[in-house]
Symmetry: C2
Subunit: 667 residues, 2 copies
């Protein structure tokens, strides 16, 4: 059925807001907004449930523009439908500190659900949103009272689907039978560098079907046939026993002289082509950013419709709340990001004996799990090793969405990005665990967590060559430096069980930032009852005999006990040695200068850092006269004790090095 002239006008309004904004910025990607305008129009005006005046309405449908380079498509729709986004904001596209950055950034623009742009991430973020919805619905909904009940849509391009993370996300979503997750594939046959068939000849339908998805392919009459798109979305919504894919044959740069060419992908059309495009589609050449009054009026009906939708839901919610006061209080607490006051933090003392920090972590998580229903997550097929399984919380599996243990499979990258989505949904606090070395696999998603200020908890175990026999392919070296160099990530490497529990307190009570908890495979001694000042990043864990140290050993994690052993040897030689435990650089750097100087007095220049990782960056703490002791080469496959000796991580070697350093510094 051909579109009505009114539909065409409304679709063209999206196209030319995007084209004009990109042309004004002289930067951007016009191809996607032009090619996807009709399908986005259909989705936003006929299906998506949202309230532009309350972008945080908890039960709204979620829409993720995984193909984030098409940001102007989204910004145009957010403006048209009445979000707090003005025409001036569109005119500020890609300008400093604007609400309309080059790629969508969550938290910066009302209505943007996820930061996207790095290809593929949005697909996994969407899966996370859908997992959160399924879980919360399973836990809180009552018969006839579906208080959490919405769809998650994801618009993705060929770039998203070529990235491996999308396969991880698709495979897991299919396994989990997430029935309210709908992907729309912008099947435009063109990528940045040329036609997609230069490098991509997969059958996308078959690929999704192999993972158990419902699929539809529509060639919607030159991509403009609203009725066809509308019908496909209807079908997808009604398939609730598995996720749905709608592949839509679109035409990149639709209506422009560059239509169906990769030239439409990544650069402005240029004034001449803008003019030709407007002529081709019957759009007034002037003014720029033109939106006919009736078009705007039509879109702005979304405001009233949205308010009504939310009001209906509120009525439902109020009735549910009246009948389920405790549930409601809990859900509202979780949505607000408040933690209960009475979390039963476990106590550790000498009686626990030597304990790997991964084991201590598992004890903490299981101790607090019952009081923190928002804590959901899992590992990348390593529960038995990472110790992160929540024993009494059930598995999140098809038809058992109330379970809190997600079996992510060997899919570190999707795990991290899915957890971003879970956190972005609201109410939940996700965690994901794997071996520290495999941080490498999920780094792009961790970066997005930091950029998006997402409270996502990463648990990394097997944190050094001390994991032993698995060898250098599994032994992290540079990973601590990678994390520390990344803005806005808090890294904590605890020295014993007491620091683990302190770290978890910080992680649970923090907001708006990802945390990386870095834990050992091997057992570590309990370092004594004390005020383990993890929140301050570093503290004196063992002072020099008689005070007045003239040497400071600074260590993290498993090397703190080693430093204390070395301290004993040195003190026996008459040295005065302070040991500083420094579980977190970021937290220490945030302390007042006075505190930092108290822990690391500037007058004491004989300093040595000890950490089983790359030494990069340590010179800022040990100074010019200090020694950064670590491991700047790959490990080896051997029992941990053999490696410790070979690589010099023994108290004797540390003491010897420190003695040398101390001697040097007094010359």
């Amino acid at each position: 059925m051909p579109n009505t002239p009114a539909d065409e006008q409304r679709i063209n309004a999206i196209r030319f807001l995007a084209v004009d904004a990109i042309q004004k910025a002289n930067s951007g990607h016009p191809g996607l907004p032009m090619g996807c305008a009709a399908l986005a129009y259909t989705l936003f005006t006929r299906h998506l449930r949202f309230n532009p005046t309350d972008p945080h309405w908890f039960n709204r449908d979620r829409f993720v523009l995984s193909a984030g380079h098409g940001s102007m498509l989204l910004y145009a729709l957010l403006y048209l439908t009445g979000y707090e986004l003005t025409l001036d904001d569109l005119k500020n596209f890609r300008q400093f500190d604007s609400k309309t950055p080059g790629h969508p950034e969550v938290g910066r623009t009302p209505g943007v659900e996820a930061t996207t742009g790095p290809r593929g991430q949005g697909t996994a973020h969407a899966v996370g949103l859908a997992i959160a919805e399924a879980h919360l619905g399973a836990v809180y909904n009552k018969p006839g009272q579906p208080v959490v009940d919405h769809y998650t849509y994801c618009l993705c391009g060929d770039g998203d689907l070529m990235e491996g993370i999308s396969q991880e996300a698709i495979s897991l979503a299919g396994h989990l039978k997430l029935g309210k997750l709908i992907f729309i594939y912008d099947d435009n046959h063109v990528s940045l560098a040329g036609p997609t068939d230069l490098t991509l000849t997969d059958d996308p339908i078959a690929r999704f079907e192999a993972s158990g998805w419902h699929t539809q392919f529509i060639d919607a009459g030159h991509s403009n046939d609203v009725a066809t798109i509308d019908q496909a979305i209807h079908v997808a919504k009604n398939v609730t026993d598995r996720p749905s894919l709608i592949a839509v044959r679109t035409h990149i740069g639709f209506g422009s002289p560059r239509q169906d060419s990769y030239l439409a992908h990544g650069e402005p059309l240029g004034p001449e082509n803008v003019k030709k495009s407007k002529e081709e589609l019957g759009w007034p050449l002037a003014p720029d950013f033109y939106v006919p009054d009736d078009v705007l009026a039509f879109y702005r009906e979304s405001v009233g419709k949205g308010r009504e939708l939310q009001a209906q839901w509120q009525t439902l919610y109020d009735a549910w709340k009246a009948a389920n006061a405790a549930d409601a209080a809990q859900l509202e607490r979780m949505i607000a990001g408040r933690r209960p006051a009475d979390i039963p933090w476990p106590q550790f003392d000498e009686s626990n004996g030597a304990l790997a920090t991964r084991d201590a972590g598992g004890i903490v998580m299981n101790a607090i799990a019952a009081s923190l229903p928002e804590l959901v997550g899992g590992s990348a097929d390593l529960d038995p090793s990472t110790k992160t399984y929540l024993k009494d919380c059930g598995d999140f599996e098809p038809n058992a969405y109330a379970g809190r243990n997600v079996h992510f499979g060997v899919r570190e990258h999707a795990m991290a990005a899915i957890n971003n989505g879970i956190a972005l949904h609201g109410a939940l606090l996700p965690f994901g665990a794997t071996f520290f070395n495999f941080l490498d696999y999920c780094k792009p998603a961790l970066r997005l967590a930091a950029l998006s200020e997402i409270h996502n908890l990463f648990v990394f175990t097997h944190d050094s060559f001390m994991l032993g026999e698995d060898g250098p392919t599994h032994q992290p070296i540079e990973q601590l430096a990678m994390l520390r160099a990344t803005p806005r990530v808090n890294v904590v490497r605890p020295a014993d069980s007491l620091e683990v529990v302190e770290a978890w307190k910080l992680m649970v009570n923090a907001e708006h930032i990802p945390w990386a908890l870095v834990l050992t495979r091997q057992k570590l001694p309990f370092l004594g009852k004390r005020d383990a000042a993890v929140s301050k990043g570093a503290y004196v864990i063992s002072e020099a005999g008689g005070g007045h140290p003239d040497l400071i050993l600074i260590a993290t994690g498993s090397e703190v006990s080693l430093a204390i052993d070395a301290q004993k040897l040195l003190e026996a030689q008459g040295r005065r040695v302070r040991v500083v435990s420094m579980p977190s650089w970021e937290l220490f750097d945030a302390q007042p200068q006075a505190y930092r100087d108290a822990v690391l007095p500037p007058s004491i220049t004989a300093r040595m850092s000890i950490e089983a990782g790359a030494t990069l960056g340590w010179s800022r703490y040990v100074g010019e006269r200090g020694v950064a002791f670590g491991i700047d080469h790959f490990g080896d496959s051997a029992p941990a004790a053999v490696l410790a000796k070979t690589f010099g991580f023994t108290a004797e070697n540390i003491a010897q090095l420190a003695t040398d350093s101390f001697a040097l510094s007094t010359r």
Copy 2:
């Protein structure tokens, strides 16, 4: 057809060498060697063309054990078939500096083709090996003289196939129709943490078919039916118009009490279960590491067969060489890793004007391409942006394997790992290009390149927030620190076209190490004809007026010209300022102390580093009194000039900061 008793004995010999070695090490993964022994036996004794006495025979079939945790399967076969690996080596499994590390490491064990263990990597390495074979065959083979003509086999597990990188590799291999690539999937229904259907319910056959692969599923009579496996491999080899998958239903831990349980996956069986397994399969309980003489004799026939295969090939090769002397000389040069003496390196001077280093890089690559036929590679769908397209070298596409431009698609991770495989094949020098920020996507493969000492060239463009409007999702911050913290990677960030050409000289002529070339999107001025000592990592690019500097500005890449501008301002104020260009930390750190002290005299403590990236690590060069100027927060979406000003990357701000620093340092 049931196996003969002789077959069974030979298969069990593999199983129990693995079981005994793992038990002796008290560490390892017995499940895979026990479950895959029959299929590996069939492959190695009936199909794989190799010569144990010359593991480097150029035309051998390649075998990649992507499921690297099953290393003992491979070690057992290498020992049995007569590689330079002794029974004592097997007894040293997982011991320090042994030939039998926990996961296979190329270069350490004869017969190991790739370092594997981090899941999924082997699949892409195998695709790289097959690409290299296809390319070399297309270039050098003559009718009747297929001097490069071998299969590449990859044994992978569910962990490999869950990782996104495998999808990228599968998708590209299918697109490229790599007919001599055969994957064998160890379909054992069990992963480390439990049954795979806890998290994986894909139809693997359908998934591979969606990417155009030929597929077979065999349930080989309790996984032991050699005839069935043999037949499937025959079929796969005969399908030469596309890659082949053979999914084999196997039984993890076959024959042990833990058969078909995840408990067999990742830990030794324990003495009691070893005993029971031997009883179950009718194997003598003693001695350990028992191999019946006739079994060993049978396997050792591989030595004679291998010599004969190689001799036959040598005859073919000699005839080909006689008729194609120039080709042979070229191929032999490339295999030896020697570069031609007469590479036409381009000259740059003022007449080139301002040039982005990415553009300079493209000019260099195209200038040298004709004389360096070993240079093959491409970008992750970013040729127009990374400028890495080799204009006269054709595309590597189905039925056009002589082309040298590989269109990797938006598959950064597979690109990097495939290039590892291309390099490991021998003869070729691969490069892969993407935006610097997307280093994150390929980090695991870059790490393997470093660990495996692979000469793999990474070209990263758009190297700072100065890429502008694409915004913080695309603007690298921590990536330089990530690379510098990683052992055994050389990083070069050139300041202008002259440094670019010097960097390429180093990269082309080096061996056994990956390089990361970090280039700008924006134009940079030409910094003058000079001896740009890139090979020394850092050099004085602009000395203080009159010599005797009392302040040193140290900069890399695009910030060098900025530093020189700041120097001018400071000199105008009467300061004496040296500017050091430091394109590579690794190369500088490798210089003698005297050279380093000449560039950065210890007496000059007023130092400031300037780099548009995280400052982590710079304190080692600027010292306690110095200033590390960089950007330790995320960027923004805006024109580059706006960002430069906002973030303080202007000559005026640098000069001001330097003045302040200098004043401080003299107090």
